[in-house]
Amino acid sequence: MKYFFFVFFFFCIFILYEGLQKDPNLVPSNLISKKIPEFSIKSLQGKNFTNVDLENKEVVILNFFASWCPPCKVEHPQLLKLSNIIPVFGIAKKNKKNDLLPWLEELGSPYEVIGMDHNGLQSVNWGVYGLPETFIIQNGLVKYRHVGPIMKRDLEIFKNLTKKK
């Protein structure tokens, strides 16, 4: 009986210790390994941008960003690098065209198409809770979600995950 208590006690302490290694603020995506959500929005150019545009490619990156979001500026160089090897699509959240165009002109655009999410509903459709967030989509399925800006050290992960088979 005594031993039971001690075993249980140390088990709890162990769990608390393991808990220290985890980040309580990190939220995993609920869309991993699922088909990408259906959507249809207008692009920056005024054309239609739908899920079909993302499904008919083998590997694709979808980046949620905005010109008013400072970390989005920080990750921009990495996105430009990635766009050389993989097609990058963007969705600008609550961004006015007049704010977005000069920002893209100044920093360069890695995006093939930029969808405009004026009311924020598209971001919710993808389970996005902050900016920037980046998805890797493979054969129409969500493979990976990166929360926060893509830093230089994250490039390796992206390259590994998007290696063509």
Binding site: I13, L16, Y17, G19, L20, P24, N25
Partner: protein, 631 residues
């Protein structure tokens, strides 16, 4: 210079307390047991810690930015009072305060307890060892005297939310509470080593009461502060840090009831010891949860997982020692059966429900952490869960509170009991009808709880009435119990009114526009810009009228703090016994003619704070009573 002295004193505390710790280890390893006067150690470490704390305080007051903690958490523009309270508005300073309270309680115990010298020595051996562990933690991981590099000219800012009188005194009260529980741990563990007569319960009693009173006030203050400061009108959010403070309070409340029985009937002695040790373990667990970064919380300090490992070590070693001593205890207590319908049975029920509630809140708070480690799930457990378990538990609780005082010791009979209180039951019926009649438009749940609150108050007053009726003197302990239970009744009424019966009006209000809420007319007179000592304020001006008569001008603010660039809302409140009129001002509308205004009427809120006051008063009567009877 002063800060260096502060550090020296802290080191001295470490060195001196290590003697007690060393002797504790020796005595357990059965090595040569030399006699040692731990009381002298206690006096010294209290003096050293106090000096260290005073030097830290002095450094804060003169804005000595050579110390990292002051550079990060204080500012020369701060009003002096907040330079002072800023000492504990950060992790390092607050842990030093922890240590100070621990040494202080040790000191008080050495001077004031009626225990024998030998027993005092044993208790302080443990208390000083606890201090040794905490001071090591301070020096090695959370040193408030650490230097800043490079030396800044101006500091960061004290979080504006902390720049408030209510929040300034909330931590000291809390610490006097949960750190006070360290002494009940020490007393109980010392008692377990044997060689003490059963009267140690009498020695334990005053310390349980005084710590409980402080913790009650601390939690009450925190809740009151949240109510008036956060601009939400809410007073409890089931935030992990709030839960962490509630857990030891619940077990201490259970202990309060148990210790009374233990003293009188010499049963529940083992359980008293278990609760004393458990209460302090929960205080430590709370500290761990709050400071380690393991949980998401509004209250969390700057989180540091490496610090977390040290706190976990503290928690593990102290808990393990207490549990180990209990399992290998050297004292044998008698055992008697307990029947449900009896005073002992009612106290047992109280304990069962309080402990179950404690455990449930603990599970709810920690479950996301356990699930993430064991199953890799990411779940949230929040207010809806806690509210849904609190409600059902309230009913048996209240039932116990109402009939408990009327049960007899030993073995009682249900029929006889009901017969004794038949007048009371009749009164309950009348009260319920009255409450329903006055409130029939309101949700049924609010009627139920307000009625129950009234039942508790009435039942307590009836106890007093019975004494008066029989022309007997009212014993102090009854007075204490009645006061405390009335406090709970008032708290229930206040909490129910303020939450369920809350009325709200959120809108864009034009200057000159008047709105009606409850029977108040709230006219928006406009917004002024005010400059404060370290902020700029957008102050809304509202004229409050009742039936045409002007009552008050309320001035809610939105403050923009210079140093840290943070924004706080300061609500404006008009309180009365029927409820609070609570106003907060938001942003200006695009067209610049209207402002977002939020106006609430929170019925009976003031009874929550009055209820807490009654609780503390009841506890104080018991405390004073326990001092005079310490033989």
């Amino acid at each position: 210079m002063i800060s260096e002295i502060g550090f020296v004193f802290l080191t001295l505390t470490l060195v001196i307390s290590s003697f007690s710790f060393a002797q504790l280890i020796y005595s357990h390893l059965n090595l040569k047991n030399f006699a040692f006067n731990h009381l002298k150690v206690t006096n010294l470490i209290f003096f050293f810690t106090l000096s260290s704390f005073i030097s830290l305080t002095y450094s804060f007051l003169i804005s000595d930015f050579s110390l990292n903690v002051i550079a990060q958490n204080s500012n020369s523009q701060l009003p002096t009072i907040y330079k002072f309270t800023g000492v504990w508005g950060n992790h390092e300073g607050s842990i030093l305060l922890w240590l100070l309270v621990m040494t202080f309680f040790g000191f008080l115990f050495s001077k004031n307890s009626s225990a024998t010298e030998e027993f005092k020595n044993n208790v302080l051996k443990i208390q000083n060892s606890l201090c040794f562990l905490v001071v090591s933690f301070v020096i090695f991981t959370s040193n408030p005297f650490e230097k800043s590099f490079p030396y800044p000219i101006e500091g960061g800012d004290l979080n504006p939310l902390l720049q408030d009188p209510g929040l300034a005194i909330h931590p000291p009260f809390l610490y006097l509470g949960y750190v006070g529980f360290s002494i009940i741990y020490s007393i109980s563990v010392a008692a377990l080593s044997g060689g003490v007569k059963k009267y140690f319960i009498k020695i334990l009693k005053p310390w349980v009461f005084i710590s409980w009173i402080f913790l009650t006030c601390g939690i009450g203050l925190g809740s009151w502060w949240a109510y008036y400061e956060l601009g939400w009108g809410g007073f409890w959010f089931w935030d992990p840090v709030e839960n962490a403070s509630l857990l030891p309070w619940l077990t201490a409340s259970a202990l309060l009831h148990t210790i009374v029985v233990a003293d009188k009937k010499k049963i529940f002695i083992n359980w008293t010891i278990i609760l004393s040790i458990l209460t302090f373990i929960l205080s430590l667990l709370g500290t761990f949860l709050v400071r380690s970064g393991v949980l998401v919380s509004v209250h969390a300090f700057a989180n540091d997982p490496t610090r977390g490992v040290y706190i976990l070590l503290l928690l593990t070693s102290i808990s393990f020692f207490g549990i180990f001593k209990y399992i290998n205890k050297n004292i044998q207590m008698g055992r008697t059966d307990i029947s449900l319908i009896s005073r002992e049975g009612m106290i047992s029920l109280n304990n069962i429900f309080m402990l179950s509630l404690t455990f449930t809140i603990l599970v709810g708070t920690i479950y996301p952490l356990f699930a993430s480690v064991l199953f890799n799930s990411k779940i949230s457990v929040g207010a809806p869960f806690f509210n849904s378990i609190l409600m059902p538990v309230m009913f048996p609780f209240i039932a116990g509170m109402i009939i408990g005082p009327y049960t007899k010791w030993g073995k009682d009979d249900l029929i006889l009991l009901l017969n004794r209180i038949k007048i009371l039951i009749l009164c309950f019926f009348i009260i319920s009808l009255l409450v329903w009649y006055l409130n029939y438009k309101t949700p049924i749940l609010s009627i139920i709880f307000i009625a129950l609150g009234c039942w508790i108050i009435f039942s307590s007053l009836f106890e007093i009435f019975q004494f008066i009726n029989k022309k007997l003197r009212i014993p102090k302990k009854t007075f204490a119990q009645v006061t405390a239970h009335i406090g709970i009744g008032l708290l229930i009424i206040g909490a129910t009114g303020s939450s369920i019966l809350k009325q709200e009006k959120i809108q864009f209000q034009e200057v000159g526009q008047s709105l009606k809420i409850k029977n108040f007319d709230v006219e928006f007179l406009g917004v002024k810009k005010i400059e404060g000592p370290n902020y700029i304020s957008q102050m809304g001006v509202f004229s409050i009228k009742k039936q045409g008569k002007k009552i008050k001008i309320l001035r809610p603010e939105k403050r923009f703090y210079n140093a840290g660039k943070q924004v706080t809302t300061e609500a404006a409140i008009h309180s009365s016994i029927f409820g609070d009129l609570y106003i907060a001002i938001g942003d200006v509308h695009e067209d610049k003619t209207k402002w977002t205004t939020r106006i609430w009427f929170n019925p009976f809120t003031i009874w929550i704070w009055i209820g807490v006051f009654f609780l503390a008063t009841g506890g104080s009567i018991s405390f004073l009573n326990s001092l005079s009877r310490q033989q």
